[in-house]
Symmetry: D2
Subunit: 125 residues, 4 copies
Amino acid sequence: MEHHTRIKVYYEDTDSLGVVYYANYLKYLERGRTELVDAQGKPIQQWNREGFILAVYKIDITFLKPARLGDVCDVVTRFVSGSDYRKRLKQTIELGGETITEATVDLVCLDAQLQLREFPPGILE
Amino acid sequence: MEHHTRIKVYYEDTDSLGVVYYANYLKYLERGRTELVDAQGKPIQQWNREGFILAVYKIDITFLKPARLGDVCDVVTRFVSGSDYRKRLKQTIELGGETITEATVDLVCLDAQLQLREFPPGILE
Amino acid sequence: MEHHTRIKVYYEDTDSLGVVYYANYLKYLERGRTELVDAQGKPIQQWNREGFILAVYKIDITFLKPARLGDVCDVVTRFVSGSDYRKRLKQTIELGGETITEATVDLVCLDAQLQLREFPPGILE
Amino acid sequence: MEHHTRIKVYYEDTDSLGVVYYANYLKYLERGRTELVDAQGKPIQQWNREGFILAVYKIDITFLKPARLGDVCDVVTRFVSGSDYRKRLKQTIELGGETITEATVDLVCLDAQLQLREFPPGILE
């Protein structure tokens, strides 16, 4: 499983150093995960309504190179491993053939009261 | 009624032009309104739980001068006029004694289903 | 001139009321304007490097209906009027055939020192 | 060295799950680091003007519990170790006496062209 989402850098994403603000790469990664879930057939808002919420428990992220205004990046999401209660993804952001950000993302599944529950079948498999 | 909220500009607020990104001034204005509500005795999250949601229906905003990283601004909120179903505020952002942003903000009150309802007593009076 | 940009609502755009946070509609409008400029042949970052910066001087915006997680909206940008020093655009956000946000946007052109200058030919005409 | 910065959760920080959006905790951490630098005598924007930019190279962050609208949190920043080219901080976000987020943050120092340089004396020591 490898999923690709294209994102473009707008002013909103940059900061006064002229590059994408570090927290905003996490927005790109989340868009990638949402697109991956949506691509599996049931959109994320539908999962939410049914009481399944994907939440990041832990993320280890390295910022190798910056992206800038107008850059078009590719968010690549790969499934690494998983149990009933934990899924690990590897996500990278690619720009011009180079990896500019790489992250290991541990996800849990929560219910509507934000309590831990098992992942349902058919999501991130 | 005139309420003051102090805000400081961080990297997250700026963009690659070296100034605060235009949409982020609206965040500052919202912080000012939230602080005004909180100062009247019942915090905004409590109003929400009781089924009263303040929503901006219309905002007219002029960006006169920019704020930059590290600037400390004063968000000034004044009550202008109101009926049971509409309140108008005048908000400005001040920096070093100068008005850098000015806005006229029309608010409505919504219930938990985001339907229009009357403003309750004790909020924005 | 009428330009369309498709945007999708992600978690980052929403707030605890379950809808898109009001300032984030301004991000969508800015994406629409950037895409319009880019579509005219020279991307916004290139204009910036040449010392031409488009800045919003004033925006009047009405929030008619909310967008929610997963919604796909259409940002529509129309040129209204302009002089050498001021351009006015009309922008709407459409969702399922309905206008959910409408805005009148007044733009100025700034140089690299953020001083007012004439709009160059070939941008927003 | 242990530095504390108080932050309050506003609508802008939350998402449709009713809690702070995960990327926004990184904004809080950055505010904490900026306040730490500012408290050492020279504000971050002055360091930038002199050609010293602090950039996060790597962050490992665990999200233990969520913060919600109106919560007032304490961002705690501690210096862990450092060399001329790398500094490590430990940062936590505390709410009501509990740690809700914990992060290990590796910083580098860049020049105005975003190239690696030695940390100057007097910053994060």
